[in-house]
């Protein structure tokens, strides 16, 4: 085989990768290697493990080329290890076993054979140097069998948040090695009572809930509203620059939009009726929500400025909790038209008849729709007298699978943008309500919040 030039190979790899994301076969469960990308002409760049097993990667601390960057170099190494571990595309060799490998200060000093002895197929080697404006981070990925460099990149920017360099590198490595859209730079938003404020008013002892954001791994938790009221059900705009949520700031429930990088708050409905549960369409032009403006809870959509309101459902029963399909053509929602809450889908222009999705649940709510290559709707299902679990309905096979099993009560699922993970709330950690993430096969539940109680998470698309 003729060896392609690096540029040609890169181009080829990205083309193949794009094909897989856009129209390819359903991807494998997390944890199984993405065999589709392991085609002969890509072998130059893609690190593979033993047949049938994921490639084994080592991610030691980055090298601090300046004394000031020692902390950053350590953080980037650790966070990158966690980020690469999260998607289960690689087996990450535990960092506490690296002590036997002689340290290298520069790429030419890397002891390839020592890393091979540790069982590594791939090595991420990076350095952090102080610059006038902040730091410069260099990263290289080596195929330890061929001793070839398969990835190299340089990043520069501020020194305040070293984790962001690790997240960026992780997303690029997942894309380049596995044709996978990583989500290390995505964020979660949720509602929390952690600041212990009480709602002012004539009824005593009611907890304020404010809207918070956090990195996908729970780092950098920050409050983004100061309404001193009940604020719940936040949802990211597709560009991840705004959050729509349900606020009782004026004494009744209404939709507010927080443009978090501009510090601007908008009230698109003009206060017409009670309005709840906003969710953005995938193209960012419209918001679906629940309102009782015409007498009982129904689903509506509107432009984000509040104009062009369209009623999507029309039934004397309650229609609640809308969510958009990834292409925006359909809206899934909950309706109790048969006597108990069940999941339905309907055209997002409101035309046509709803299709019932859940048929064997006693109570199902909070649909959330996974992105391609999956086509699934996750929801909370009542599985005991006082508890819920997360279940997933596959629209292709019409099969339902359960991914939590009675560890506390589990509610409010929200898909990650690549469809491989869900955020949800659970009381499994001692009774308080906390946000967790979990893989779509039910493995790797991770606790994201621990302060106060935390509710109704939503995962940003970018």
């Amino acid at each position: 085989m003729t060896r392609p030039t690096p540029v040609a190979a890169l181009l080829l790899a990205s083309l193949v990768g794009t094909g897989i994301v856009a129209g390819g076969p359903p991807a494998q469960n997390p944890g199984q290697p993405a065999s589709a990308v392991q085609q002969p002409r890509e072998i130059e760049l893609t690190i593979s493990g033993d047949p049938g097993t994921p490639p084994r990667f080592a991610v030691p601390n980055f090298v601090a080329l300046s004394p000031e960057t020692a902390d950053a170099a350590k953080i980037i190494g650790q966070v990158l290890w966690d980020d690469l571990n999260f998607e289960r595309e690689f087996y990450l060799i535990p960092r506490d076993t690296y002590a036997t490998v002689p340290a290298a200060r520069a790429p030419e000093q890397i002891p390839f054979s020592a890393w091979r002895e540790l069982g590594a197929d791939g090595l991420v080697f990076g350095s952090v140097q102080k610059t006038e404006k902040g730091v410069r981070v260099e990263v290289r990925v080596f195929n330890l069998s061929s001793r070839e460099q398969v990835f190299s990149k340089e990043y520069s920017g501020g020194a305040a948040n070293p984790r962001l360099y690790a997240h960026t590198i992780a997303d690029e490595i997942h894309q380049q090695q596995r044709a996978l859209r990583g989500l290390a730079r995505t964020k979660l938003t949720f509602s929390s009572d952690r600041n212990l404020d009480k709602v002012a008013g004539t009824v005593q002892n009611r907890d304020v809930k404010e809207i918070y954001i956090a990195d996908y791994d729970g780092a950098n938790q920050r409050r983004i509203t100061v309404n001193r009221a009940l604020n719940i059900t936040p949802a990211w705009s597709p560009d991840a620059r705004a959050i729509a949520y349900t606020s009782y700031r004026k004494g009744f429930p209404d939709i507010l939009i927080a443009r978090i990088y501009e510090g601007v708050s908008e009230s698109p409905t003009g206060g017409k009726g009670s309005n709840f549960l906003p969710v953005w369409s995938p193209d960012g032009t419209r918001i679906a929500f629940m309102s009782s403006r015409d007498g009982n809870p129904e689903i509506y959509t509107m432009k984000t400025d509040g104009t062009d309101v369209r009623r999507i459902t029309n039934h004397q029963a309650s229609d609640v909790t809308p969510t958009w399909s990834p292409n925006g053509n359909l809206i899934a929602f909950t309706s109790d038209r048969t006597g108990s809450p069940q999941i339905y889908t309907k055209n997002s222009d409101g035309l046509g008849t709803p299709r019932r999705i859940t048929r064997s649940e006693s109570y199902a709510d909070r649909p959330t729709w996974s992105s391609a290559p999956f086509n699934e709707i996750a929801f909370a299902s009542r599985t005991s007298r006082s508890g819920f679990d997360i279940k997933v309905f596959d629209l292709m096979s019409s099969q339902t699978r359960q991914i939590t099993f009675g560890e506390g009560t589990n509610e409010s699922p929200a898909y990650s943008p690549n469809g491989r993970h869900l955020a949800f709330t659970s009381t499994r950690a001692g009774g308080s309500v906390q946000v967790f993430t979990i893989d779509r096969d039910g493995r790797n539940a991770r606790q994201i919040t621990s302060s106060g109680n935390n509710y109704t998470p939503n995962w940003s698309l970018r």
């Binding site: 009670s274 009982n296 809450p341 909070r366």
Partner: protein, 196 residues
């Protein structure tokens, strides 16, 4: 320091500290100051400029505390007290339901009579749910409970203009417990008087 040993009988503890500082200069005037309880307010060891300052403070006091503010506080507190007495008792609902049973209708008939007598009251009807429903669906269920209570009051002759309904889902439980009796307490329409 000898003078200090004579004085304690008439000193309160708070004065002692000030007095000890004042005694540093061992001025005889300090002993005289013991008889004047206002002096420590000045926080100064120099007694000479004191009298005019006290006079100024007394002059300024009436300017503070405007009357309207005080009135408003009284009004708010009385509305709180009124709601604490719950002259319009809550009505309760069955699991996952928003229908008013016979007992709820009896309670609301009495509420309608009260509202006819207190014709200036306006009321917000809050719909609440127990924790056994999901956070999202409960927003709709609370809405239906509040609306059911409002519609029944309207059917009994109370003007809809005086009634507002708000759903709180399961956000504000009355009883934070996880028992049948706590859940029964939390499935309710709660009446809050917002003007009288």
């Amino acid at each position: 320091m000898i003078r200090l040993r004579i004085a304690p009988a008439v000193l309160c503890l708070g004065l002692l500290g000030v007095f000890a500082i004042a005694c540093g200069g061992k001025q005889p005037q300090v002993v005289a100051a013991l008889a004047a309880p206002d002096l420590p307010l000045l926080g100064s060891p120099e007694p000479a400029p004191a009298p005019p300052e006290i006079a100024d403070l007394v002059e300024e006091r009436p300017i503070l505390a405007p009357a309207p503010l005080a009135d408003e506080t009284v009004e708010e507190r009385s509305l709180e007290d009124l709601n604490l007495d719950a002259p319009l008792p809550p009505v309760f609902f069955g699991l996952d339901g928003s229908g008013l049973d016979a007992r709820a209708r009896t309670v609301m008939a009495a509420a309608a009579e009260t509202l006819k007598q207190e014709s200036s009251w306006t009321v917000t009807i809050e719909g609440h749910c127990d924790e056994r429903g999901t956070a999202e669906y409960n927003l709709a269920l609370g809405e239906r409970r509040a609306t059911a209570a409002r519609d029944y009051l309207v059917s009994l002759g109370i003007s809809a203009d005086r009634l507002k309904s708000v759903s709180y889902g399961k956000e504000f439980p009355f009883d934070a417990g996880h028992t049948e009796s706590a859940w029964a307490q939390n499935r309710r329409a709660h009446f809050v008087i917002t003007a009288k």
